[in-house]
Amino acid sequence: MTNHWNDIANADVIMAIGSNPAENHPAAFGHITDAKERGAQLISVDPRFTRTSAKADIYSPLRSGTDIAFIDGMIKYVLDDIDHNPGNYNMSYIKEYTNAAYLINPGYKGPADLDGLFSGYAGGLNETDGNKRKYDKSSWQFQLDEKGIPKRDMTLQDPNCVFQIMKRHFARYTPEKVNEITGAPVDTFLQICQTYATSGQVGKAGTILYAMGTTQHTYGAQNIRSYCILQLLLGNIGIAGGGINAMRGESNVQGSTDHCLLFHILPGYLKVPDDTDDTLDKYLERVTPKSNDPKSANWWQHTPKYMVSLLKAWYGNAATRDNQFGFHYLPKIETGKNYSHISLFEAMYSGVIKGMMCWGQNPAVGGPNANLERLALGELDWLVVTDIWHTETANFWQRPGVNKADIKTEVFLLPALNSFEKEGSVTNSGRWSQWRYAAAAGPGVAMGDLWMLDWLARKLMEMYANEGGPNAEAITQLNWNYGHEHPDVHAVAKEINGYDLTTGKLLPSFTKLMDDGTTSSGNWLYCASYTEDGNMAARRDPTPGPFNIGLYPNWSWCWPVNRRIIYNRASVDLNGEPWDKNHPVIWWQGDKWVGDVPDGGWPPMAVDPENTKYPFIMKPEGHARFFGPGMAEGPLPEHYEPWESPIKNPMSPQQSNPAFKIWRPDEQGTPDKYPIVCSTYRLCEHWQGGQMTRNMPWLIEMQPEPFVEMSEELAAKIGIVNGEKVIVESTRGQVYLTAVITKRFKPFQMNGTTVHQVGIPWHWGFTGLSTGDSANKLTPHVGDANTMIPEYKAFLVNIRKV
């Protein structure tokens, strides 16, 4: 989240799209209810009428996978309205804080000119050759002046300026076109546009709450880009009650991402080294962004300090300037190669990966194309599962229909403590790192992950020291010292914060980190979380804090440097006066900032033009990006159909995202055999892959088995009644489910075309007290073009009576 949970209560309009917080974030929904009671409008956009829709002021349906068309249509509405009523919008914010005024390379062409493609595409329309499914992005770049600074036209009139390019791009998303693509009724769509656009007024705030319904598409990252563009046009980033707010699906997803859960990053979102990075200098040269603009803070220019401090945390005295601080110990990825979930399971399936340690996840239920992923597990030599129950992943060799003797994989199950049985930090969606204590002792020999990792690492260090091995020093030289029998979680937290290695003292902030080896930090973003003043994450002062907008600055700790609302220097005008004086985030008073920790302490832009900086400090150019030249499939969000779609793309002849990797072309379902759109989702009563909740009697009584939700119209067409059993099938598999026939699903009426959609909760599998078919037997092995997150949310099925 750019903002945080409590801050939602400051919003005037809330749009939940690609999310269902009343179902999946039931405790946090209280903040939304608080906002509503203060007069905020709640908009719910979802393929079906959900628990959140039940609490919303306005609900619109949209066919799964059509967020971009919906939001692009809203952007068009706002751009048109700016022409007629510029006084209703914060034009100063748009001109000064975003790249609306930037000039783009004149060679740039958009989908309106190129049948749905952008300039620079290597292939042709609907390209199938994987090597050509990519862009040369040179024509998308900013024009630079003689100093290398992006050129701007502050009148926003230049035909090559971003604002004018946006007008041309989004003009195609008329309300009628939006209806034709999404199935949202035109009048409801316009009502939402009107309502949400009111947050563009100076002093008003609108927030977008999204979750996996947004991201789990072959263009998930572009879905979010469309939200960013809308929010920037309405001046909603950086202010109280605004922001782009990803509601995380698990209590510590944010923390695990911050500490590099994903393959392409190191802790603190430093880029992972690849095989072109022969030396530390070469790596730093490649990954450290540069800016020639003295007004751009270009915060990532500090990358060398963060990287060297990370290496010092990992390798201690073995990391010296002479050995490039141990950079050569680090594994390097193959340039351009993807190592995310789908890729890993494909590599297991084809026998490249021989062993897997699976910690606290259940891919045999949660992974896409679950039948395939269960087969892939059987190709492993060994599998270690760390969990609190016997999961489907641990028990994959006992699954129905399989001869145990045919599976050679050796499986180890390590009984783990659950999150309430161990001490440590949990970072929530709002970036708050909150320290927790063990509430109960674990059962039997169950141990915490830290204990297991510590023993594993020390054993490996011993073995590499005695027996040697490839790149042995990468293990033997580790600075690994967290105690003996039981590792001390505080020692880990302190290492993450980092030390001044000269004095041995904990560092107060990442501004003290150095690139000369005199400081260490396991994660620069968390530097300031555990200082000489104590464990900041353990603070529990419930005072709301400055301006009474609910920042709670002394409750837990928030990255970066306890800044509760990021990009908050966009919440003020050029003189440092808040746009919204009723909910100020920061305020320039006298000669200093008051309020939240500002995004850099430089003076406001008009107060001291010499020493000021632009507000979007994480972008090399200092301005928020309407036009995003780094994306895989284009600098502006364009509607494409999901990989499996019931219709031809009404927007262009380019059917699906031209830049994502197609793993298994033969497994693509077509609407003649699989005419129904299907999506997967979660229930309030169950949790993820079901390990915990499918063993809880009270919960399984409430939601005892998986089901498929469908409209009365579709049920009549198939000829079934409520509660009857059906078979749902895709090209990948079939599942046997109870039909829940509901008024909350309606067929989409898309300019004369009718499309049916159904949905299945994905929590179930074949182990535990409550068992049932896994929805992911149906989902495809394709992912987003930028992130490779699987397309769980839109695929094709057929349904028949049993």
Binding site: G30, R51, W698, I700, M702, E705, G723, E724, A739
Partner: protein, 281 residues
């Protein structure tokens, strides 16, 4: 002592059913949940709503209703449990005194002295008490929400709120002094009316002499499946006000009669005895 109550705000409720689970957990009503291990698995019956009805081990359940006023779908959530009436039909008919008014106003229950007559089932205008006979022992008992005052599990005496209120994440349930909750409920209803919910109402303020579970509703009670103007049946009133007193009179007369019979008999016996004693001497 000020009467206590629960205020349920249906407009805040998201039907997460934390209350339903907490009720079972706190009141130890979980041991009968069917599982794979004991041979039966609970099933989905084409609805989110489950179990399908209140039962001796389900004292609180959330109801889900799909309605389509003006052609637009609404999904309404409603809390179904004992309403803890002031004019409580169940208390009126209970012959053993197992159901009684707690000093804080709500209807408490002493299961030990329940005779399993089942009259309360028929007397409840909200169809709440559920009755079960143990086939082994042959003993029948009623069950319903006790406002968390079951002996040994009494949260109220401990100074705590009921388990359902404690767990409610969106604060749709509140526990407190009934007068204050009536005022809070009225305030919320006014806010709803101002927002355009012209049928909004506070249910339970006056019904049956005042309920100790009150509802903030954005629409007519009937839309939420609640009885409009609930009444105790004439038979129930007759039971407590006429038949039961007659019963006591008749029973009393019987006892008196038996007593008189005893005295007469004893006098006769004594007379006989005296005669015998006299003859012996």
């Amino acid at each position: 002592m000020a009467e206590k109550a629960i205020l349920y705000d249906a407009t805040r409720c998201t039907a997460c059913r934390g209350c339903q689970a907490a009720c079972k957990q706190w009141n130890e009503n979980d041991e009968f949940i069917p599982t794979v291990e004991n041979g039966v698995q609970s099933v989905n019956r084409g609805s989110y709503e489950n179990p399908p009805d209140l039962s001796p081990t389900t004292w609180l359940k959330m109801e889900f209703r799909e309605v389509t006023p003006d052609g637009k779908v609404r999904w309404l959530f409603n809390r179904r449990s004992c309403m803890h009436c002031t004019d409580a039909g169940c208390v009126k008919v209970c012959p053993s005194g197992a159901l009684y008014h707690h000093e804080l106003g709500f209807v408490a229950y002493d299961k030990d002295i329940c005779t399993g007559c089942g009259y309360c089932e028929d007397a409840c205008p909200f169809d709440v008490p559920r009755y079960e006979r143990n086939f082994v022992s042959g003993i029948a008992k009623m069950d319903k929400c006790t406002f968390c005052t079951t002996p040994g599990l009494d949260r109220i005496a401990g100074g705590w709120e009921p388990a359902c209120v404690k767990t409610c994440p969106p604060d749709a349930l509140q526990y407190g002094d009934r007068d204050q909750l009536v005022a809070e409920g009225k305030k919320r209803v006014e806010a709803l009316i101002a927002k355009g919910w012209t049928n909004a109402n506070l249910y339970g303020e006056k019904e049956l002499g005042g309920l100790h579970v009150m509802y903030v509703l954005d629409d007519h009670p009937a839309v939420y499946g609640l009885p409009v103007d609930p009444q105790i049946s004439a038979a129930t009133i007759a039971w407590q006000d006429v038949i039961q007193p007659i019963g006591w009179v008749v029973g009393g007369l019987t006892i008196l009669g038996l007593g008189f019979n005893y005295l007469v008999a004893r006098a006769n016996i004594n007379r006989e005895k005296e005669k015998k004693d006299a003859a012996r001497s």
